[in-house]
């Protein structure tokens, strides 16, 4: 199928983009990598009257390390480029681990970090990673900008804190604390398909190997990435042994999600996957934290 007609602009400056978005807040749609939007246009599930192509904006695809050690990623950074970036591998290993699960290499060559976050598909990998890493997102609008924490950004099914007229321009990831480890696991029917269920885990140990902090974020089992905060909080203050990990995974699967079954996986099966994946991810994250 083919897209319905639309107007198209591809501004060369951020100010121009923000001007257009401010003037046409209700009918303008931002085109970044287009790997989710163009399928929606092709199927006419989306029929915007104006596409604002941001691919010609200079300087919005950078990877930089700030003086405080924060990793600053431009919203237009392509997923494939981030997958190969040494700064990402060193400072955001959870993101590096998740990226190969995002669709296929051809898609990642176009798909952007910011586009995936702004699209907010509940089965997508990158929103879960942003939440697990306590990312901050910079949203620009005509005449100003604001920073929003990932936990306040994802609001529900394809819904975010982005207001009409706003553009996601940058993602900041805090440096991992010492003795931290990460793991990303998902199950999909075929590699590259959307996950039936997935888990992003991050743990930080103290000098004695006791868990100081754990994060467990679940994808494809709710309207948005699910922060299994109760299960993760219960891990702090004790060793990350098999029993405590199993209990956290069980709690996350039984009490912190309410998955909806579909043709590919029943709700029970999704709970089972979360329990197994969460336990494996936490154990793998612990091993990496011990080795860090």
């Amino acid at each position: 199928m083919k897209p319905a007609p639309f107007d198209y602009v591809a501004p060369r400056s951020l100010d121009e983009v923000l001007e257009v978005l401010a003037e046409r807040p209700d009918d303008a749609k931002v085109l970044a990598g287009g790997q989710s939007l163009i399928p929606l246009l092709n199927f006419r599930l989306a029929q915007p009257t104006l596409l604002v192509d941001v691919n010609r904006l200079p300087g919005l695809d950078g990877v930089a390390v700030a003086s405080d050690g924060e990793l600053r990623l431009g919203a237009l950074a392509r997923q494939g480029r981030l997958e190969r970036d040494p700064h990402v591998a060193e400072r955001a290993p959870l993101l590096a681990a998740a990226l190969p699960h995002v669709a296929h290499p051809q898609i990642r060559n176009r798909g952007t970090l910011g586009g995936s976050l702004a699209h907010a598909d509940p089965a997508a990998e990158l929103p879960a990673v942003a939440l697990a890493l306590d990312a901050r997102l910079r949203l620009a609008r005509r005449g100003g900008e604001r920073w929003v924490a990932a936990r306040d950004f994802f609001r529900g099914l394809f819904a975010t804190a982005l207001e009409p007229g706003e553009l996601l321009v940058e993602v900041a990831l805090p440096p991992p604390p010492p003795r931290s480890g990460f793991a990303f696991l998902e199950v999909a029917r075929r590699h590259g398909d959307y996950a039936l269920a997935g888990v992003a885990a991050a743990v930080t140990l103290d000098e004695r190997g006791v868990c100081r902090r754990a994060r467990l974020v679940l994808l494809a089992v709710g309207d948005a990435p699910v922060d299994a905060g109760v299960a993760a909080a219960a891990l702090a203050g004790g060793p990350l042994d098999v029993e405590r990990i199993a209990e956290a995974a069980r709690h996350a699967a039984e009490s912190e999600i309410d998955p909806v079954g579909d043709i590919h996986a029943s709700a029970d099966f999704k709970r089972h996957l979360i329990r197994v994946l969460a336990a494996r991810a936490l154990a793998a994250a612990r091993l990496r934290a011990e080795a860090a």
Partner: protein, 162 residues
């Protein structure tokens, strides 16, 4: 309606400068096939899953059904038509596919050839696992992939052996 306003596309397609005017909604895949007559690029699912329409944009494999033609303005595109040899002969990768029986109906083949062309530029000595990963974004419903993997490994060997 205003969406019918046509925009200029100036791009390098298979090494040749091309200038056309298109509707903004024109997909790159349809631009190649309908406006330029380059029907080697096949259109399967039109939502990025099957990989049949894969072309090289500035050397990188991308789905041409998930790009607008206007987005190719100022860029270089290579399609399967660029992969042949002199005077209609098969290129080395195509020849390896023919020898290994790596295609049956051939619908997926153009997208696989473009994908693998980029892959072999970066992987001179690929392992079988790497080849399978590289093929993960291209569906083939005929071959079961084994002969495609064989062909890619053979093509990599003959590239190395010159």
């Amino acid at each position: 309606m205003s969406g019918a306003r046509r925009l200029a596309v100036r791009a390098e397609i298979n090494g040749r400068a091309v200038a056309r005017e298109v509707e903004p909604r024109r997909l790159l895949s349809d631009f190649l096939r309908h406006d330029l007559g380059l029907t080697g690029t096949h259109v399967g699912c039109e939502h990025g899953v099957c990989g049949a329409c894969t072309v090289l944009l500035d050397g990188e494999p991308v789905r041409s059904c998930l790009l607008l033609a206007v987005q190719a303005d100022g860029h270089a595109v290579e399609t399967v038509e660029a992969l042949g040899g002199e005077q209609g002969a098969l290129g080395p990768l195509q020849e390896a596919f023919r020898r290994a029986h790596a295609l049956q109906c051939g619908f997926c083949t153009p997208g696989i050839l473009t994908t693998i062309t980029a892959f072999l530029r970066e992987h001179a000595e690929p392992t079988e696992a790497e080849v399978r990963r590289a093929l993960s974004g291209n569906l083939c419903r005929c071959t079961g992939y084994q002969h495609i993997v064989d062909a890619v490994l053979a093509a990599a060997r003959s590239r190395r052996d010159g």
